[in-house]
């Protein structure tokens, strides 16, 4: 039965499919730029279509992992398997990834840049790495996917980026690598510990769920449980990024081409928050109790610091980049508060941030293509010349700052409401962050779009094109959809989150 084969291997196809297409692209001559674009677009739309089948095949009432194909032995000597699956948490992130791929491919459609072939190959490889990170149920496999994302992103920033691209690319690479090497030791240690407890070699997440919580956490800072926790947390904190490890982010975002910024902000940063929940929270609950206040404190600092720094940025892209630090602070706050509502809010906010910040980077990129500047002072009064663009920008902005009825509100509300019972003070601080967020975003909108046109070069710039509408339309629809009917997205994750928090 052909249909059964498809269903059994659906997750593998979505994960590895992009790589198959990337290998295929390798054999197409690089002069055929159109062919590369069309094939990549078809591939990305196909992957998205298949991933919607994941959504329909997923049973929201069942906690734990679903759509799990039989583990395939990979390195049987060490008990390493190709073992993947989704639960309610990762399902949303997989869908976010597959949705954004066609969006960025279409966004890069008209770009007149060099090395189109390599760009598309890197995007496809990156997609496999990102989806793989979210679906891996074997920690070796997880680590491989986690590290694989580094190489394409390094090239995207370094080859197609702005003037300081090499500095930004190397900084990104080294920072991320610095976190992940310690994670490797932690994974090795967990496997050794599992072997000592059970006599079986395994790198399976499901096996570690039984043994990892047994790691001792008492006896000072050198207790194995705490060190393993810190090793994982460092990798994720750099990726998220949590203050004060965020310094690579503004550089990478500003120098990356706008399509790269979209993927970086929308998906790559979520790998960090996802890992915090999936590994730190679920595998090491005792250590989580000890370190959650610290993480929460850093998240709060990040919320306020990110907002304040964003406020004074002269460059729109940098402003959006720093706003990410602030928004991701909310996500970490929701995770560390640890209630059902705040955790679900945090996961929804991961998706929200992916959509709104992704859209903002796309829109800023469109502005840049028209004016070749990103400085706020060079704009002003754009609402007069590009009304449709302004409307879309406004919807996204309002979604980002949490206007009721749009997506950001639901996420932030759930986080704050969930955290209120346990951490009222943190909620107050975060509330200040929301106000600051509204201030810097609206102030930026005011300076860019309202008022008179004081830069004559801007008098004749064209409004948004049909292709560009197609690019942002799905994101705008989602901003409103999540705002009006968040249950579509909250329901599938409810049982999974309950299970995660019960550990």
């Amino acid at each position: 039965m052909g249909g059964d084969v498809l269903n059994d291997h659906l997750l593998s196809i979505v994960t590895l499919g992009p790589t198959v297409f990337a290998v295929f692209l390798l054999f197409i001559p690089m002069q055929w730029k159109k062919v590369h674009r069309i094939i990549t677009l078809i591939a990305s739309i196909l992957m998205f279509a298949l991933s919607t089948r994941l959504w329909t095949a997923f049973n929201p009432d069942v906690p734990g992992f679903q759509l799990v194909p039989d583990p395939i032995p990979w390195i049987p000597q060490f008990g390493i398997n190709y073992h993947i699956g989704v639960d309610g948490v990762s399902l949303l992130l997989v869908l976010l990834t597959t949705l954004l791929l066609p969006v960025v491919v279409l966004a890069a459609w008209s770009l007149n840049i060099e090395h189109i072939k390599s760009l598309h190959i890197t995007f496809l490889l990156l997609t496999t790495g990102m989806i793989g990170t979210f679906v891996a149920l074997d920690l070796f496999l997880f680590y491989v996917f986690w590290e694989i994302t580094l190489i394409p992103m390094y090239f995207i920033v370094g080859v197609w980026g702005g003037p300081r691209r090499i500095y930004a690319a190397v900084k990104f690479f080294i920072f991320t690598m610095a976190g992940s090497v310690f994670m490797l030791i932690a994974i090795l240690y967990l496997a050794w510990f599992h072997h000592r407890q059970t006599g079986v070699w395994s790198y399976s997440y499901l096996d570690f769920l039984d043994t990892a919580p047994l790691l001792p956490t008492t006896g000072g800072l050198l207790a194995p449980g705490l060190l393993v926790f810190l090793s994982f947390a460092l990798a994720f904190a750099i990726k998220i990024p949590i203050f004060p490890l965020h310094t690579w982010l503004p550089d990478a975002h500003v120098e990356a081409p706008s399509t790269g910024s979209v993927i970086l902000a929308a998906v790559l940063l979520k790998m960090g928050t996802y890992g915090l929940l999936r590994f730190n929270r679920a595998l090491l609950p005792d250590a989580w109790e000890i370190f959650a206040p610290l993480l929460m404190g850093l998240a709060l600092i990040g919320i306020i610091y990110g907002a304040l720094v964003a406020m004074v940025q002269p460059d729109v892209k940098k402003l959006v980049a720093f706003s990410s630090v602030s928004h991701l602070g909310f996500v970490v706050l929701g995770l560390t508060a640890g209630t059902q509502a705040s955790t679900q809010g945090a996961i929804l906010q991961m998706v929200n941030h992916g959509i709104t910040t992704g859209a903002l980077f796309l829109l800023v990129g469109m502005l840049y293509e028209r004016t070749y500047t990103r400085l706020i002072e060079r704009y002003g009064g754009l609402a007069g010349v590009m009304p449709i663009f302004t409307g879309i920008f406004l919807i996204i902005t309002l979604g980002s700052i949490g206007l009721p009825g749009l997506n950001g509100f639901v996420g932030e509300f759930l986080i704050l409401a969930g955290a209120w019972a346990t951490h009222p003070l943190a909620v107050v601080v975060a509330g200040i962050g929301i106000i600051l967020g509204a201030v810097y975003m609206l102030w930026m909108v005011q300076r860019v779009f309202w008022g008179p046109i004081d830069n004559r070069a801007n008098e004749a710039i064209p409004d948004i094109s049909m292709r560009e509408v197609f690019v942002v339309a799905p994101l705008v629809v989602l901003v409103i959809w999540i705002g009006v009917h968040p249950n579509t997205f909250l329901e599938p994750m409810e049982a999974s989150v309950r299970l995660l928090l019960a550990r």
Partner: protein
Amino acid sequence: MPTPSTTDLLAIAPEVILTVAAGLVLVIEAFLPGLRRSLSGLGMLAIAGALWARLSFELPGPVWAGMLQVDQLTAFVDTYILVAAFLAMLMAGPFMRRNGSDTGEFYALTLLATVGSMVMACSVDLLPIFLGLELLSLPLYVLNAFFRRHEVSVEAGLKYFVVGAFASAFVAYGMALLYGVSASTHLVDVGRQVIELGAFNPLAAVGFAMVVGGLAFKLALVPCHAWAPDVYQGSPTPVTAFLSVVPKGAALIVLLRLVEGMDLLHISPRWVLAASVIAVASQSLGNVVAIVQRDIKRMLAYSGIAHMGYALVAIIVAGNDGGSAVLVYLASYTLMNMGAFACVAQFSEREDRPHLISDLSGQGYNRPVGALALTICLFALSGIPPFIGFTAKFVVFRAAVNQGFVWLAVIGVVNSLISVFYYVRVIYILYMRPLPERRPEYGFSFAICATASIAALGALLLGIYPTAVLAAAQSAILVLAR
């Protein structure tokens, strides 16, 4: 001594094939100079024949009155020695022709050096080990200085000769002392005697330390590393590639048989500590100094010092885990390094000038295949998945963590992180810097490009599916006497 049996002869068939081929090459060179172009092909054919013989003939175990041990470990080691020699030979043909030094002696000496390392790989007796060591080293002294009109090449030959003679003397003197305490030249007897006498018997300890020290010269471990950068830089690139892989592999196997087989290191915690210090120092010095190198061959020399530091970690860890990790590390190091040096040979204008990393600017688009191969090899060397370098480091650090050497694993990963700096720098120069005004004129050779591509493809495919290599390494290490 009884006459050798058929088993004895069949067991050394690969070595015989290579030696005969070396002689044949010299004869052709002398009497049929018109066939000179086909000599590298003949060499490759002989190597392929030797590999076939090693893999298809049965492995009898102890032969030649117990002096040699032809077992699965030998087969594993010979396989990668022969693969490395084959790749070196493949790139040597066009490379030597391009530089006008396409003479038969080159191929004959390479074949003889290969035989020497294979003898080391199968010896379990001090005498053949020493013979193998000399048979490996003497041809290499000549090969290093093969561009005899280039000052750097002559300097490389002289340096390697002086240091190598020193190392050989160390090994010979140490062997004499070991023979003195154990009245036997067989490794198992020697090992037993050393264990019996303990770590504080001066004769045994000094003899053991001198043998290991001599091998450390071949491995370029700190503090015996100083020759490596100059020799790597000055030697003809195919020789550098050969030199960076084959002698190190042979020396590590002797260490495996001597140290791992008897678990000698662990008779005293001080010896373990001393070896750990050497491993950490090699990694740290290699990686830090590599950062400031401007010549890619010197950079790879320092990176080689660091990589032997990682391999030494696996030796310190010992046991089946550590032993198989050494083998996996060697296999991966062979592929990555051969690929990287083949790429250096590709991007080389003149052999008597430094191979500056900055000369690679923009070559990523000018020479896509070669640049991609170099990129894969460098990512593999830095230990990033899905390439085999990651698998190798994973296996080594896994063994370390499992045996309670977590601190060595932590230092190892920190060093991998440092190494990312210089590997990644080469990659951004390839892809993210524009082509310079004066475009370097790199000749194109299909064979050199093929060498790089084979090695890079191997590094990728074995990285994605390392199971077969791991299984072979694990069964090979079981044959060590314990």
